[in-house]
Each structure stands twice: as structure tokens, then as C-alpha cells.
Symmetry: C2
Subunit: 206 residues, 2 copies
């Protein structure tokens, strides 16, 4: 699309177009939509952005996103406080919370070890994790980190670091996806899932 006759519209399109996944055509569409909703969506959006700018911080305990010093999960005393699930990012916390299958605490690393991207252990929230393990409140640490090369490196590094502490270190299960067709599973996953096969426990009634 071409230049607009409004310099302000041009600037708005340029700034909207900087957002991930939004090209110039979508940016134009969004800008014109906001122009039409000047008194409804636009002020709400500006309020939302101000919230991001002024109010969101990282939880001082687990580094998850929070509106206060300690996040809602860390301050929820109905959760299992003896289990810490280590994840790469806030997004992983949301994804796991979404499953409704986990009721312990989290620790957000803020990245994974990746020499190519120049991310080393010193760039991650590891000292705070060790502090948490030193309190003896924790009995299990779950590694919920992506099974990529960088993820495996991070898991290996952390496992060595955690080993001296009296906690069980576990890993989320890996294998073929539920509901997925075997023939479409990638070879590595399928191969590993055969190696890591589990025994089916048959009860008398089955």
C-alpha cells in the first residue's frame, strides 16, 4: 500500500507495523479501525498499553509476571509449596496453568542456555532458584523445558547444580502426542518413545 495523505496516519502505521506478526497492510487496517473507534477501542487499548508500561513486573520469588512484588501463584497458600516447576518463560507458566494439572510453584528462568544467541547460565534466574532450594521447603523440582538442544543443555546444567540438594529432579514426559497419528510423528520423537516405553499395568478386572 502507498503513502497516506496524513503524516500522523503514516507514523501510526509504521509503529503498529513494528509489532510481531503484523505487516504494513494489517497495520493500515488496524490504524483505520482505531480511527473509527476513537472513543471506544482506542482509549481502552491506550489504557492497556499504559498498564504494560507502568504496572507489570517480575515476581521477586519465581520471576513470573506479576502486578506486585510476589505473584498470585507464589502467594497462593493452597498450592503445593514443596514442588517447583522450572520453565523457560512466562508463556510456559500460562500454558501449564491452562492444563489445570499442576498445583505447585514455578521458577521462570527467563531464557535457556544458548551459546549461539550468547545466552549463558549467568543470564538466567538461577541464583534465586538455588536460594529457594536452600530453604529445605522443596522436595521436588520438575524440568518443564523444551526438548531441544538448548533445552537439554539447560536441563543438564541445572541438574548438576541441583544434585547436592536433597530434592527429586524430574522431567516432563516426552513421546508421541495424544491424538496424533503415529505415521506423522517425527522420527526422533517416535524412536525415543519406543526406547522410553512403559509397561502397561493390567489389573485383575481389565
Amino acid at each position: 500500500m502507498s503513502q497516506s495523505s496524513s503524516r500522523h496516519l503514516e507514523y501510526a502505521i509504521k509503529t503498529i507495523g513494528q509489532l510481531p506478526g503484523i505487516g504494513r497492510k494489517s497495520a493500515l487496517r488496524i490504524a483505520l479501525f482505531l480511527l473509527k473507534t476513537k472513543s471506544s477501542v482506542l482509549p481502552e487499548l491506550m489504557e492497556g498499553l499504559k498498564g504494560i508500561r507502568d504496572h507489570i513486573q517480575n515476581c521477586k520469588t519465581c520471576h513470573n509476571l506479576s502486578d506486585s512484588d510476589i505473584c498470585g501463584i507464589c502467594s497462593d497458600h493452597s498450592r503445593t509449596r514443596s514442588t517447583i516447576c522450572i520453565v523457560e518463560s512466562e508463556r510456559d507458566v500460562m500454558a501449564i496453568e491452562d492444563t489445570g494439572q499442576y498445583h505447585g510453584l514455578y521458577h521462570v528462568l527467563g531464557g535457556i542456555i544458548s551459546p549461539i544467541d550468547n545466552v549463558g547460565p549467568q543470564d538466567l534466574n538461577i541464583p534465586d532458584l538455588i536460594d529457594r532450594l536452600s530453604t529445605k521447603e522443596v522436595s521436588e523440582v520438575i524440568m518443564a523445558i523444551s526438548p531441544t538442544i538448548e533445552g537439554e543443555t539447560t536441563i543438564f546444567y541445572l541438574s548438576k547444580l541441583i544434585k547436592p540438594y536433597p530434592v527429586r529432579i524430574s522431567l516432563i514426559a516426552r513421546g508421541v502426542s495424544f491424538g496424533g497419528e503415529l505415521e506423522y510423528a517425527d522420527g526422533l520423537t517416535l524412536g525415543r518413545s519406543i526406547v522410553s516405553r512403559t509397561t502397561i499395568e493390567m489389573t485383575e478386572n481389565a
Copy 2:
């Protein structure tokens, strides 16, 4: 994706998700991106949105988007002032400007006649168009309106209204797209393009 542990992040995701073409997952991605670019992209975006809120208006002559009372096209005296191209929206102005093939003025209707959407002639910028024709400066009016049922209705209505004025009324050419394969053209377009065929003028040298 699930609820976040930050109420402010939740609100931001909700407001971003109101934008056209952006679902909850994209909204989350954008919100986290803005959180990471708090000191670069976020302030620029807020500045851009303020521009939309405070500075963009409609040109008093042609109703195109403008930063001032009269838009850059209407105030550009190097353009052919005797030709007015009637379009539905500001987007069409941009698309036509982008071709670089038109050097006259525009008139933005702000919609097309559509009884289903409850849009009648009284909702469009038609009185101003008639005023412009009354100045006798104009010798041609080009209808650059989509060849849909609503578009054709609008063209028919406007043509009747403009007929008393001493101007030539023209219509942008319709037919098969340049570079398109005939077999993929829709039947209506192909049929009309045969009916509206033009003679190839052979010069002696051809």
C-alpha cells in the same frame, strides 16, 4: 491460552485482542513483546496512537484523511483539478495513489449504498460532491467503485445525480486481471470482458 498471573497483562491482552485480525494468542505475543520493548517500541506505539486520537481528521473538500483542514492532494496545485475520482474509502485513495497512474483529485464517499447494512445516500458525503461540481472547475468524474451489487447501485444513483452537470462521467475498466490466467477468472468477469471487448488498433508498422 490461560489466564496470566498479572491482571494488567490480562487487560492489555484483552484490549489488543479487540484489534481486527488479532486473536488471543497473537495478543499475548504482542503484549509480551511490548513488555520486552518498554523503552523502544512501546513508547513509539503510544505516540502513534496519540496521533490517531488527536491529529487525524477528514479533508473538508474531499473527505480523505488529512492532518489539516485541506488534505495534501487537494492543496497540491500541480494536480489536474478538473478531474474528480469518486471512491468508497481512504484505502481506495491509497491504492490508486500507489499505482502512480492518476493525477487528479478525489472524493471519498465514506461508504456505499447498502440497504442491508442500513446505509443510504444520506449517510455518504454526497452534498459536498455536488457542491464541487457546481463550481464548473470539474470536467470529468471517474467512478472508481467496486463492481459489487452495492457498488453498482451507488454508481447508478450518483450518475443520475451528476447527469444535470456538464461533466463527463466515466467508469474504471473492468475485465480479466493483467497477468491472470483466463481459466482462473470468475465466469461473470470473463463473460463481461467478452461483451465489453475492445478493438485492437493495428498501425502500419505493427
